[in-house]
């Protein structure tokens, strides 16, 4: 199947706010306001931690934004932990949660009605309409159980995991520790396939205890073997086939945390990046929808410029400098630096953390979820990271901090970013054990909001209250021959000023997070075009 470069108009295009002639002319400060307190959302992520701090307890906290009832407003789903070592969701405190958006800033907990309390130790979530029925479904990764919930269209979901064949069990019969998942149509057949990033060969039986009594710390993943990732091909009849082996995916053993999807080489086939914890990252280059070549080393994204791995966790894969080439941000632990890999467009990426100005700033941060989003609608995408150290007792040595404030880096339009977290409002100063984050416009005001989960603290609803009057466009892609969500669609927007912006549609769960299929850009719209893959309309 040879991809053609097809262009089509967006099926739904909405314009809002007065037109302005110059991009960025009224770009204001990036501001966030945490409105959790009056939102009706009381979710507190519970990792079920034990005194010995087994490494499972640092990992949970996926967040997904999805409009499960198609009312035009994003709803919120949180994954949750379980008892340890029992892995049971005993009582309400370990339940996964679905909150319905009431359109007025409040939410209603509809978990029980939806049938989404879950089982076992849940980690990540990825939302997409896998069966093209117009309703968003939900995939949950976990340590002991993965789940595929089919959206019944009446506010309820059905567990179809076993029937669909997406249990997260390897071909060798072992349930792998699923962390992240991403929906993508890797073979451009119009049906969404599923990629699951798996972490370590760890169990309570093999669990080490690290640190000293009273100061237990999370053990390094270097003590454990990695796991293969899984790629499920969508058969189009409600079932999936594990194609990990025939596509070459499972030949590469890593320690997967985050996964992000983009067509990095502009060949019309979606590629996959996996952030591996203390191991080399993977870049799976899609070979015509039939197989993948792992080219992380060749593309210079396997390691940082020091030739060594970092504790890669969250990741996003988007064009931040408006050159049409998706680039990468990866979060890591304190003492390391968040790697920023710029896509050169020639198959190579260059490591630009310091060049872009986030090197020194991120040195003291530990990050989980990450996003490349335009928060101030100035036409250039900014960076957001959900921060916290992995070890609850990290503060005991005085150098690291378990509870950290999130960070936002403003795009300065010249390839550099400025850390504006300190001026981004009280919502950005909350020190907590942040984990997953998800991006979307919760109140349909044209600004990207952020929802962040935190261990032991209420989830944060960071409404974007950035000043500035640049207008925006929201494009909702609806595939007819392609997957109905239009995942993989590449959108190019040219404004009257000549500013060109690119984005692509994903529901990638990037280390516990989901990006919603909305695009917001600053400035006046001159024209927009949407490129779909072959057979897509």
């Amino acid at each position: 199947m040879t991809p053609r470069k097809l262009f089509a108009v967006a099926l739904v295009v909405a314009l809002a706010a007065p037109l302005r002639t110059l991009w960025g002319s009224d770009a204001g400060r990036i501001q966030f306001e945490n409105r959790q307190e009056n939102s009706g959302i009381s979710f507190v992520l519970d990792n079920g931690t034990l005194p010995d701090k087994p490494m499972i307890d640092g990992i949970p906290g996926g967040v997904a934004l999805l409009d499960y009832d198609n009312d035009g407003y994003l709803d919120i789903f949180f994954t949750n932990g379980a008892t340890l070592p029992g892995l049971a969701k005993e009582g309400d405190k370990f339940s996964n949660r679905l909150y319905h958006n009431n359109h007025d800033g409040t939410f209603t907990d509809v978990t029980d009605r939806a049938g989404l309390r879950g089982e076992g130790y849940s980690v990540g979530a990825a939302a997409a309409d896998y069966d093209n029925d117009g309703r968003t479904d939900l995939y949950i990764t976990g340590f002991d159980r993965n789940f595929l919930y089919h959206n019944n269209g009446d506010g309820t979901f059905a567990d179809v995991t076993v029937k669909a064949g997406v249990t997260g069990v390897s071909s060798a019969g072992k349930k792998l520790w699923g962390i992240s998942a991403a929906w993508l149509d890797y073979d451009n057949d119009g049906k969404l396939d599923l990629f699951v990033a798996n972490y370590l060969d760890w169990s309570f039986a093999t669990s080490r205890v690290c640190g000293s009594p009273g100061k237990r710390l999370s053990c390094s993943p270097t003590f454990y073997k990695g796991e293969p990732n899984i790629l499920y091909h969508n058969n189009g009849n409600g079932t999936f086939t594990d194609v990990s082996e025939i596509t070459g995916i499972s030949r590469n053993i890593g320690k997967g945390m985050g996964v992000a999807i983009a067509d990095y080489n502009d060949d019309g086939w979606m590629d996959i990046f996996v952030a591996n914890d203390n191991d080399r990252n993977f870049l799976f280059k899609n070979r015509g929808g039939k197989a993948f070549d792992e080219v992380g080393v060749e593309s210079f994204v396997a390691y940082t410029d020091s030739g060594l791995p970092v504790s890669s966790m969250g990741v996003d894969f988007r064009d931040w400098n408006n050159d049409g080439k998706p680039s990468l941000i990866v979060t890591a632990l304190g003492g390391e630096v968040y790697p920023l890999f710029r896509n050169e467009g020639n198959g190579f990426f260059s490591y630009e953390s310091y060049k872009a100005g986030i090197g020194f700033r991120s040195l003291k941060m530990s990050g989980w979820g990450a996003g490349i989003q335009d928060f101030d609608n100035d036409g250039y995408k900014d960076l957001f990271t959900a921060n916290s150290h992995v070890s609850e007792n990290a503060d005991l040595d005085g150098q690291q901090h378990y509870r950290q404030a999130n960070a936002v880096f403003r795009n300065m339009h010249d390839g550099t970013f400025q850390d504006v977290s300190g001026d981004a409002g009280p919502g950005m100063q909350i020190r907590a054990a942040h984990r997953g984050c998800a991006f979307g416009d919760l109140n349909n005001d044209g600004k990207i909001d952020v929802v962040v989960s935190a261990i032991g603290s209420p989830a944060e609803l960071l409404y974007n209250t950035s000043t500035g009057g640049n207008h925006w466009i929201l494009i909702k892609t609806v595939g007819v021959k392609s997957n109905r969500d239009g995942i993989g669609t590449r959108i190019k927007v040219i404004t009257a000023s000549g500013l060109v912006q690119y984005n692509h549609v994903t529901t990638t769960l990037r280390q516990l997070e989901v990006t919603r299929v909305r695009m917001i850009h600053g400035s006046t719209l001159d024209w927009a075009r949407i490129r779909l893959s072959e057979k897509s309309t």
Partner: protein
Amino acid sequence: MRTAFTSLLLAVCAAWPALAEPCTGAEAQLAQVAKALTVNALDIAENMLRTLIASYPDCPEIVLHQARLAQAKGNIGEATELYYRYTDKDPDDSRGLAYFGRFFLEQRDYMRADALSSAAADKNPDDPAALALRGQILLMKGQSPEGQNLLEKAIKLEPNDPEAQFQLGTIYDKAKAAAQAVEHFRKAATLNPLDVRAWDYLALNLELVGDLDGTEQAYQKGLQVNQAGRYHDAFLDYNYGRFLAKRNDLTRSKRHLDRAVESAPRLRAVWYERAKLDMRMQNYQQARADAEKAAACTQTGGVIDLQIYSLLSQVYARLGDTALAQKYTDLTRETPPPVRGEQR
């Protein structure tokens, strides 16, 4: 008669202290000499010693300081002879043993340094010089908690010992406790501004705590005093060059990495770092030359094979040499990343 004579002798001794103790009356000046030697103010120490010798020719402590002066000036034979002379005269003086032990340490005679440091600490467990040296030796022997304990005790007794401050700083540096390391390296550098190592380590740790202006200043101060001799630091240009590269000052970074390559040409790390800079500056031919040099070095300076393979794969890919790029790509894939600390 006998009683009368004894009384007379005591009276004379009281009136002329030098008769009773050969150093009596010189204590304050000797302390100043010791301080001058500690902070490497050799001219001051030498002048004072010259005066003291004339007035107190039999004061053994003068011999000890002469030994330290000779050591600081690099007169190894003279220093050795003087240290032996002093310890023969006063074998129970823990300070003498400690300074002699530090002399052996500088000469990389670790066994004698170990023995003397142990003896010094045994003689006087409250002598800060003895405790500082013993602490340092224990650190080198891998007995970190004990070493740290002795160094902390030494600093409590004598907070103005720059070497003890420096050694304690290295403990925090290794533990990645940058804030505490900064505290001790700053004291060490302030007490002995000629100690380039202290400025270098101070700069490295200031960078980790995010004080970039302080980092720059520390490097500048280190560069001002980085001369051949006792405190020469071959890594200063290397570290500063790396810092400048992170600050995107590539031209100045190049200048310092060039100097680093000149001063430590057998060290893999300096060639490696310059090759990385060459890559950033898109000077791929030079990057190849430097990276290959790095690969050939046996003194790694902490740069492991995986890093070299990864760099060479990039260099040859940029140069379009697909065969060599593939070779080093394969080696990069086959080489496992290092096992890091047990916890995080």
